[in-house]
């Protein structure tokens, strides 16, 4: 009997160790950073493509920040989700409350591995599963740009999550399934414009986070990439933006880039809902980037 007990205990210990090992945060080692000088001007472009301000700009008077207030990245927005309430952190250049003291490798690991400087997992409400698909140079440029923005004092409260989501370590297992730097859509023909579009849509733009349906574990369903999904903000649906999408099917590539630039559909209806802030960010990109996004969206498989 005592021997069986010891065996059970030993198996349990092995199981726990295995779980600990499987869920460990996997940071990129410092020596893998490319040797290049980050460019803050290019980083500003990444900033708008990524829509960082849409979540991280501190709300003003209970409303989303506008104009130059979008550059005050003090956090504080609350995301009410089925898993609990996520509170967006301060990513301003403030040394104590923001990320002003972070090194380049710490920033890259946060963005592309979902690992904090203290070696803990971030929750994927911070869409690093998309950012993992960005070129690492773009991430470095982004940090160089963020370093130029004002320091904002004040920290957000922590997340309030329901069990078992409150067990942060479990994210490690989730990441093994969903964190991958490989492109979602591979096309054989090499078209630099489509490739650039893919970087923007699958990576920084994190379009899939709303436009792709999720499975039961909250991961994106790659088989229905950009095929539309329930609106995370409440009623209705986020539209299908594959070539099978009800509205977008009839849009030319020019219509798509014009929509991203102006906020007007080919019928001259206006952009609505949560897409308004996204479109306003996309309007700040150079025209070539919007064309690249359109070219990519026209190239992906039609999905219902």
């Amino acid at each position: 009997m005592a021997r069986i007990g010891r065996v059970v205990l030993a198996l349990l210990a092995i199981g726990l160790l295995a779980a600990w090992w499987i869920t460990r945060p996997q940071a990129l080692p410092r020596q893998e950073l490319p040797d290049r000088e980050p460019d803050p001007v290019a980083g500003e472009r990444v900033f708008w493509a990524g829509g960082c301000a849409s979540c991280h700009a501190r709300p003003v008077g209970g409303k989303r920040a506008r104009g130059n207030d979008k550059l005050l990245l003090g956090g504080g927005l609350e995301l009410d989700t089925p898993y609990g309430v996520f509170r967006v952190p301060n990513i301003s250049s403030h040394a104590d409350d923001g990320i002003g003291r972070w090194s380049m490798i710490e920033f890259v690991n946060a963005m592309q591995r979902g690992v904090s400087p203290r070696g803990r997992h971030y929750y994927p409400s911070f869409p690093y599963t998309s950012y993992a698909k960005m070129p690492i140079g773009d991430v470095m440029d982004l940090k160089a740009y963020l370093d130029t923005l004002p320091a904002v004092a004040g920290r957000s409260a922590g997340h309030t999550l329901d069990f078992p989501w409150s067990l942060r370590r479990g994210i490690g297992a989730w990441k093994r399934r969903y964190l991958d730097s490989a492109p979602v859509i591979r096309v054989d023909a090499v078209d630099p414009m489509v490739d650039r579009g893919r970087e923007l849509v699958e990576g920084a733009g994190h379009c899939g986070e709303c436009h792709t349906p999720r499975d039961r574990l909250g991961g994106l369903d790659a088989d229905r990439w950009l095929a539309g999904a329930p609106n995370p903000d409440g009623e209705g649906r986020i539209p299908n933006i594959t070539p099978a999408g009800e509205n977008i099917a009839a849009w030319s590539a020019g219509d798509i880039s014009y929509y991203l630039e102006s906020g007007f559909t080919p019928e001259f209806d206006t952009v609505g809902g949560s897409m308004v802030v996204v479109q306003e960010n996309m309007a700040k990109l150079p025209p070539a980037d919007r064309k690249a996004i359109a070219a990519y969206l026209k190239s992906i498989p039609a999905r219902e």
């Binding site: 539309g228 014009y258 007007f264 019928e267 001259f268 952009v271 609505g272």
Partner: protein, 150 residues
């Protein structure tokens, strides 16, 4: 039933239906129709701005007059009790923040009046005055219209 009788009853039915349509003064329907006319008028201007069609000053002015007409009516078309039903896309914010709604509407009215006063006769002249008109559409929709995606 004889042939003329059928024809008469058809005419009567048509008339009844037509009078029904004329008598439909439900503000939810009226404003919807009005907004549809605005959308139809916006399209040719948009195509000019987008470079998809040649500049046509007459078409531009006619669209601006449609906007002017609609902008003058909208203020009266959101009375109490018309906030729900009939698939209205009017957002609750119209009734919760009437002053804000009227301000957004006034911006559109002003932009339209300015554009009409400018009488643009080239695309270059039209762009700076049409821009604010379109921006006013977008700004008002963002807060005062519900999104009915899919």
């Amino acid at each position: 039933m004889s042939y003329p009788k059928i024809r008469l009853s058809l005419i009567a039915a048509t008339l009844a239906y037509a009078s029904l349509a004329v008598a439909d003064d439900d503000p939810r329907h009226v404003r919807h129709e009005l907004m549809e006319s605005v959308g139809k008028a916006a399209k040719p201007i948009g195509k000019m701005l987008k470079g998809e069609s040649d500049f046509d000053g007459d078409v531009l002015m006619s669209s601006l007059r449609t906007f002017e007409d609609a902008a003058g009516q909208f203020g009266e078309l959101f009375p109490a009790g018309s906030n729900t039903g009939e698939d209205t896309e009017a957002a609750p914010a119209i009734w919760e923040d009437r002053a804000g709604f009227e301000e957004a509407l006034a911006k559109w009215q002003t932009a339209v009046a300015d554009a009409i006063a400018a009488q643009p006769d080239t695309l270059d002249a039209a762009e700076p005055v049409a821009g604010p008109v379109f921006q006013a559409c977008k700004a008002c929709h963002e807060t005062y219209r519900i999104e009915d995606e899919d």
